[in-house]
């Protein structure tokens, strides 16, 4: 399975390789490419929104299309861009950081990816079949239940399918981190990125079922005549809001925590210092995850829950600022006294601190329940969540990609282009979103197709649109960098940054089996420990021997394809029962694949010692 072999096999074989792969490193590539594409689609939608809001009473796109645009922008960015890009990082890095040869469930790992991808495609097919969903990414009932056409049906089926993929992915990483750590890699020696992935996976496990339940109720209301959210028939529309936010608030921490982890690793590497207050950082991560489940109703202060509930959720929400603040200070004190190298990865991380601090501050302001009666559903909230999601998650993704790109692809992204992409994006980001806080307070609600003349909102919206174009420019330069690096740049060693953690102890990109011999971990920042004792690499924890690896399989792809087909059946059987045929075909494919998987023994294969020795000569052992 050497890389030379796969290069000779041509395009068809390469595609087949990716369709069937169960290798976490290749699955990371799949997540990266598809998440990246969805990020561009979501970005395009954002640009259309900003063009529409460039001037008062604009008629660039129609009111109906505008609502589809905001719905798809939010849904795409959260579920189809941010989530998979995070999974790309987790796949690329977590097994390496804990010294594992693969994840716990390689087959499920692949299944998780294909479910996500087919769900995402399904959602976007709606653009071509009569209209995308248009009730907002929050999809509140009864606006969503009465929304005409099939847009919202696509939302329900698409998210249900991709959500199942996310849940599976989360469980996989949970088990991987619990069970597959190398000897000596105790919990309190895990790098922060692994810790954060662990907590995020736990959040996925508990948060996504709420969404699943909500989507099922919505599906039955829209497709099979139930009345869960229909007040006229005794249902209750507010239940959807609760279900959505019981999922939705943890979801925002699912998004940010892994990037918190990545920032921790980056600050430490590029300051040449161990992370300041490691145990406090771990504790803060766990606490944020825990508190994340106690605060969902802060999205519903104006629903009419009454002053007692509002006050409780307000105070609980404020509490989250404490562990978040601890993290900010620990990052700054990691740099304190260090030897700071200003690489592109570090630049994005440094830009993150003030940006995210502002987002956290507006978060606390929003948490003041009564004051939220003014902020809620205005551009102030739009400003807040873009400060945390762009200033936190997106900055974090850029930083992490610059940092781990060499590990994933064996090449360092061009530093000059990296910085050239950073500046327009960073400036554009603040231009776009800072002013939005004021627009909100000046009386501009969010999700407004037009704002009227003479309300003092013209200048602010114009500035915001200009900023958006700068962000687009930054993104384009980043893409140019990716292409340029792929074509021009030289391959680098396994440890281009003078790294501290296990992933930097093996070649870039790592061999199929990651570690020739499982490493022995002797402390926090294991590679640094060895380096500081003058050793070049890790001490192996086992003698050289055969390695057992799982086999590739097309079944995860087939199972997801089946659900994809069945999804269309469910959506269109409302119009014509003939479509039920698709449900049967699709479910047949899925269940058939599951049956095959259950009945057919697949014991994997071994990589023999002799082959490993050959690889070592070529540098695999390092």
């Amino acid at each position: 399975m050497s890389t030379a072999m796969s290069q000779n096999r041509g395009l068809g074989a390469a595609i087949w390789d990716y369709l069937t792969t169960v290798d976490h490193k290749k699955i990371a590539h799949l997540y990266l490419v598809s998440g990246g594409l969805f990020f561009l689609i979501g970005g395009l939608e954002a640009m259309l929104i900003r063009i529409q809001l460039m001037q008062p009473d604009n008629n660039f796109i129609s009111a109906g299309l505008y609502n589809e645009m905001i719905t798809m922008h939010g849904t795409t960015m959260i579920f189809l861009a941010a989530m998979p890009l995070i999974f790309a990082l987790m796949n690329a890095v977590v097994p390496l950081q804990i010294g594992a040869r693969d994840v716990a469930f390689p087959f499920l790992n692949s299944l998780g990816f294909w479910l996500f991808l087919f769900g995402g495609i399904m959602l976007n097919v709606s653009w071509f079949t009569g209209g995308a969903p248009d009730a907002g990414w929050t999809n509140y009932a009864p606006l969503s239940t009465v929304s005409p056409g099939h847009g919202v049906d696509y939302y329900v089926m698409g998210l249900q399918i991709s959500g199942a993929g996310t849940l599976i992915g989360g469980i996989n990483f949970l088990v991987t981190i619990v069970n597959m750590r190398a000897p000596g890699m105790t919990y309190m020696r895990m790098p922060l990125f692994t810790w954060a992935s662990f907590v995020t996976s736990t959040l996925i496990l508990f948060a996504f079922p709420a969404l699943t339940v909500g989507l099922f109720l919505m599906m039955f209301d829209r497709m099979f005549g139930s009345v869960f959210f229909d007040t006229a028939a005794g249902g209750n529309a507010i239940i959807w809001e609760h279900l959505f936010w019981i999922f939705g608030h943890p979801e925002v921490y699912i998004l940010i925590l892994p990037l918190f982890g990545a920032f921790s690793d980056i600050f430490s590497t590029f300051s040449k210092k161990r992370l300041f207050g490691y145990s406090a950082m771990v504790f803060a991560t766990v606490l944020i995850g825990f508190l994340g489940f106690m605060v969902w109703a802060h999205h519903m202060f104006t629903v009419g829950m009454g002053p007692i509930a509002n006050s409780i959720f307000a105070v609980a929400t404020m509490a989250i600022a404490v562990p978040t603040g601890i993290k900010i200070f620990n990052w700054m004190f990691t740099m304190w006294g260090g030897n700071i190298r200003m690489t592109s990865a570090m630049l994005w991380s440094i830009a993150f601190i003030p940006s995210f601090t502002i987002g956290g501050m507006t978060g606390v302001m929003l948490a003041a329940a009564a004051a939220d009666y003014q902020y809620h559903d205005t551009y102030f909230v739009v400003g807040h969540f873009h400060y945390v999601i762009v200033g936190g998650v997106v900055f974090g993704l850029f930083a992490a990609l610059h940092y781990w790109w060499p590990k994933m692809f064996g090449k360092v992204l061009n530093e000059k282009l990296g910085k050239l992409a950073f500046w327009p994006f960073f400036i554009g980001f603040h231009l776009t979103f800072f002013i939005q806080h004021f627009l909100g307070l000046m009386g501009m609600p969010r999700r407004y197709w037009v704002f009227l003349e003479g309300q003092g909102l013209e200048a602010g919206n114009m500035i915001s649109t200009i900023g958006a174009f700068l962000m687009a420019l930054g993104t384009i330069i980043f893409i140019i960098n990716v292409v340029y690096t792929a074509v021009k740049t030289e391959k680098v060693s396994g440890d281009p940054w003078d790294g501290r953690t296990l992933e930097w102890s093996i070649p870039s990109p790592p061999p199929h089996y990651n570690f020739v011999q499982t490493p022995l971990v002797r402390g926090l920042d294991p590679l640094w420990v060895e380096k500081s004792e003058g050793k070049k690499g890790m001490t192996p924890a086992e003698p050289l021997g055969d390695i057992h690896m799982p086999n590739a399989s097309i079944l995860p792809f087939m199972m997801s394809l089946g659900l994809f087909i069945a999804g269309f059946g469910f959506i269109y059987q409302v119009d014509d029962k003939g479509w039920l045929a698709l449900v049967f075909i699709g479910m047949g494919i899925t269940l058939g694949s599951m049956l095959t998987r259950s009945l057919k023994d697949d014991l994997g294969h071994h990589i023999h010692k002799a082959d490993l020795e050959k690889d070592i000569e070529k540098g695999a052992g390092q």
């Binding site: 109906g64 606006l143 900010i328 009666y373």
Partner: protein
């Protein structure tokens, strides 16, 4: 409770902040130019939270700037290996405890304001007005059950006293927001009805928005709150109660229009008191500050609305081309005669204006 928070404002920092922020936005629309009890209270709460947050931000930025300047790698330092500090208990305790204290400082007025704004102690008392608000795609209905008055789009209230609003929706969720007088509250379908109160300090016309995505014309679901002195308010109520819904129109055109109205429009638009119908109540139409919440109240605008409402508010429920253009003109003639009260008419000239 406004008392002690009001005093807070006089502190220097608050003073500066307040002046800075209240330069933002237009009068009678911006939440930063409070003109009523609720918005005033919330403005103070915002200022407290901004002050605390700025305090934290300044500290963070000071450390941040220092670290980046002082510890950035210098030429020839490439191989320097810094001391691997594990942490510092004292520092960590400090940056855990101080934020907790700051948040408690914010939590107290937050809880107070939350309970204050939910207070309903005087509701139903003699002389206290309660108005029923109904959100509809994409218009607002207001009825005054004690006085047997109904209006739509323009909400008349007396200044200087609490007016309670009982709020619900006839279709999807909307949210009632008059930023310069009070915060917002959702109007829900079904039994989840809400109550809030308004208290405007000064006479004037205040801009209201729908703040919860409710469909295509969500951004056009504007309304006005017209605050008048208590005396004028009593006069207005009397004027409204004296309206004879069946009164014949004056000019010939208007009489034609009235007949056309009865045939084509009456099934949805009531004139006189009643619950929210299919369409807005038109009792005092000629006194409206806007047509359909957004258009200037001219006859041409009214005609084009009647012929093609879809053009103005996409997705709204009123059918297009119910009548011909000529008929629309006659109906407009009739509606422009539905002028029953002078109250608020001078106020309605005070458009929101950019400063």
């Amino acid at each position: 409770m406004r008392g002690w928070m009001g005093k807070f404002r006089s502190f220097f920092l608050f003073g500066a902040l307040t002046i800075l922020l209240s330069g933002c936005g237009v009068d009678n629309l911006s939440a930063l130019k409070p003109k009523g009890y609720g918005s005033d209270l919330l403005f103070d709460l915002m200022m407290i939270s901004i002050a605390i947050m700025l305090f934290v931000f300044v500290i963070v930025m000071a450390i941040y700037t220092f670290v980046l300047i002082r510890y950035r790698q210098k030429k020839g330092q490439e191989d320097f290996i810094p001391k691997q500090t594990e942490g510092n208990k004292a520092l960590e305790v400090i940056w855990t405890v101080i934020p907790i204290i700051l948040l408690l400082v914010l939590a107290v007025p937050t809880v107070q304001a939350t309970f204050d704004l939910a207070d309903e102690s005087t509701k139903g008392d003699d002389g206290v007005t309660t108005i029923e608000v109904t959100g509809n795609q994409y218009w607002w209905h207001f009825s005054y059950p004690d006085d047997e008055i109904s209006t739509s789009q323009d909400l008349y209230i007396p200044t200087g006293e609490r007016v309670y609003l009982d709020m619900k929706s006839s279709d999807v969720i909307h949210s009632f927001w008059v930023p310069s007088i009070a915060g917002k509250m959702d109007t829900n379908p079904g039994d989840n009805d809400n109550t809030m109160y308004l208290e405007a300090y000064d006479e004037g016309v205040y801009w209201g928005h729908c703040a919860e995505l409710c469909g295509e014309s969500h951004s056009l679901m504007d309304f006005r709150v017209i605050a008048v002195s208590p005396d004028e308010y009593d006069q207005w109520k009397e004027d409204m109660q004296n309206v004879d819904p069946e009164a014949d129109a004056e000019t010939a055109d208007a009489q034609e229009g009235q007949a056309l109205y009865e045939d084509n429009c009456m099934s949805c638009h009531a004139i006189g008191d009643g619950a929210a119908g299919q369409g807005p109540n038109l009792t005092n139409f000629a006194n409206r500050t806007k047509i359909a919440g957004i258009l200037e109240p001219t006859k041409e605008n009214l005609e084009s609305w009647i012929v093609n409402p879809e053009e103005v508010k996409p997705g709204n429920q009123m059918p297009a081309n119910l009548v011909s253009e000529d008929e629309a003109s006659q109906i407009a003639e009739y509606l422009m005669e539905l002028d029953h009260s002078d109250i608020g008419s001078n106020a309605s000239d005070e458009e929101v204006e950019e400063e």
